[in-house]
Amino acid sequence: MATPAVPVAVDMEFAKNMYELHKKVSPNELILGWYATGHDITEHSVLIHEYYSREAPNPIHLTVDTSLQNGRMSIKAYVSTLMGVPGRTMGVMFTPLTVKYAYYDTERIGVDLIMKTCFSPNRVIGLSSDLQQVGGASARIQDALSTVLQYAEDVLSGKVSADNTVGRFLMSLVNQVPKIVPDDFETMLNSNINDLLMVTYLANLTQSQIALNEKLVNL
């Protein structure tokens, strides 16, 4: 382990304080490792990693490349392993790990919304009304459907070679569309629409009632 040319300092007090504060909110969370911005691992990382191996068993080191080398923001994770000749001086090597991203429902919806700022000129989006969102979701499905249709036509005209798995997927997809007798569908649709209309009417009625109450009380 070469001695670092420039000393690096980590404010351990600060780390401990923040962890204590955080534990007050989420008492079940533990320190898993540490992150750093930058492209490479340096000798400093080894020292800091050693400190964190005291806090957590087998800590993880995450690097986020905010300097955007290679035009990408690469996110990598490492675990440290010992290497070297046993019995002599041991060195430390950072072995890379595969990074996967998992979401839960509400998080994914939030991320989807935030992602829309990528497409707006000044990186600003507003929250849209409900019907607009339905329109947006259906537009997305429409795009997906047109891609699938395009692929099917390409295969039929011979431009793209047919792939069996994809073909089977498509067949199961088409078969999943339920076949409903038109009359049954009409009744289902009408009853649902009636429910919704009635609820809207009731909501409007309630609102006018409380407005009326307000006026009467203030006489």
Binding site: V25, Y103, E107, G110, C118, V124, P182, T200, Q207
Partner: protein, 346 residues
């Protein structure tokens, strides 16, 4: 723009010092006009709020936290937030103010904005118009003029679209709260209707360029198939829950109305009795006047019922109705789309 002063002592003094600094930078806040026309939130804050509810909230409990940021002209920029621990059994040895001060001091070390600009709360099916919220928002808005409360609805979000709204108290309501006078006369004088209690401030989400790069990365890497909850037609459960809450509130409201009616009847009865008394006295001039206690017992006016609670209930009913109408509009759209598709098939 706003000079950052390290807060010492209680939260109130630190907030007032930041309010003073913010006021200097912003200029006149305007007493009639609302000080904040738009709320600009960082993507980070949205995700943190979602995460906080996901991990710490269950059922009808609300999770709360503090928003940090800056005020720029008539825009409130929220750049970060931190969660607040919930009130659990060990309430005694937990000092809220100290937690806040520690948190803000630590955040200052890593150069994160540490100015209080508001707070957030999760809600259960939209039921957030309570006395507690009113009091908290009043104390925030009193100390920092531009503060907002962000209401996050996790159940509606899980249905497909992020539900995040920013509210402030209207200036009129601020006046009433400042007097601490919630009697009917004061409220009538201020002429507050339930619609004019809270005002909603539009929200925009803004991200830095670096975050945009991260978004592109995530879009490439994550192979999560789009789940289309937004287009789901099964809606009755959610609607039923909403209606249930609405019915409870309407019941409370009707009880309130009954109380008010009895009060009105009592006052009018008393007026009649007073009238009769007057007549008797006019007839029996010269006779000894009635003993004092009778008069006072007879003429004790009945207590007018509290108006603030019914205002809150009316506001809550209004919110429920709005939510229900939005929901039904969305669902009607989806049903008509399904109908169009089915007709095309046949």
């Amino acid at each position: 723009m706003a000079s950052r002063k390290e807060g010492t002592g209680s939260t109130a003094t630190s907030s007032s010092s930041t309010a003073g600094a913010a006021g200097k930078g912003k200029g006149k806040g305007g007493s009639g006009d609302s000080a904040v026309k738009q709320v600009q939130i960082d993507g980070l804050v949205v995700l943190k709020i979602i995460k906080h509810y996901q991990e710490e909230g269950q059922g009808t409990e609300v999770v709360q936290g503090v928003l940090l940021g800056l005020v720029v002209e008539d825009r409130l920029e929220i750049t970060n937030c931190f969660p607040f621990p919930q009130h659990t059994e060990d309430d005694a040895d937990f000092d809220e103010v100290q937690y806040q001060m520690e948190m803000m001091r630590s955040l200052r070390h890593v150069n994160i904005d540490h100015l209080h600009v508001g707070w957030y709360q999760s809600t259960y099916y939209g039921s957030f118009v309570t006395r507690a919220l009113l009091d908290s928002q009043f104390s925030y808005q009193h100390a920092i003029e531009e503060s907002v409360v962000l209401i996050y609805d996790p159940i509606k979000t899980a249905q497909g679209s992020l539900s995040l709204k920013a509210y402030r108290l209207t200036p009129k309501l601020m006046e009433v709260c400042k007097e601490k006078d919630f009697s009917p006369e004061a409220l009538k004088k201020a002429n507050i209707t339930f619609e004019y209690m809270f005002e909603e401030v539009p929200i925009v989400i803004k991200n830095s360029h670096l975050i945009n790069v991260l978004m592109w990365e995530l879009e490439k890497k994550s192979a999560v198939a789009d789940k289309h909850e937004l287009l789901s037609l099964a809606s009755s459960n959610h609607l039923g829950k909403n209606l249930q809450l609405l019915m409870d509130r309407v019941d409370e409201m009707s009880q309130d109305i009954v109380k008010y009616n009895t009060y009105m009847r009592n006052t009018s009865k008393q007026q009649q009795q007073k009238h009769q008394q007057e007549n008797m006295q006019r007839q029996s001039r010269g006779e000894p006047p009635l003993p004092e206690e009778d008069l006072s017992k007879l003429f004790k006016p009945p207590q007018p019922p509290a108006r603030m609670d019914s205002l809150l209930i009316a506001g809550q009913i209004n919110t429920y109705c709005q939510n229900i109408k939005e929901f039904t509009a969305q669902n009607l759209g989806k049903l008509f789309m399904a109908q169009a598709l089915q007709e095309y098939n046949n």
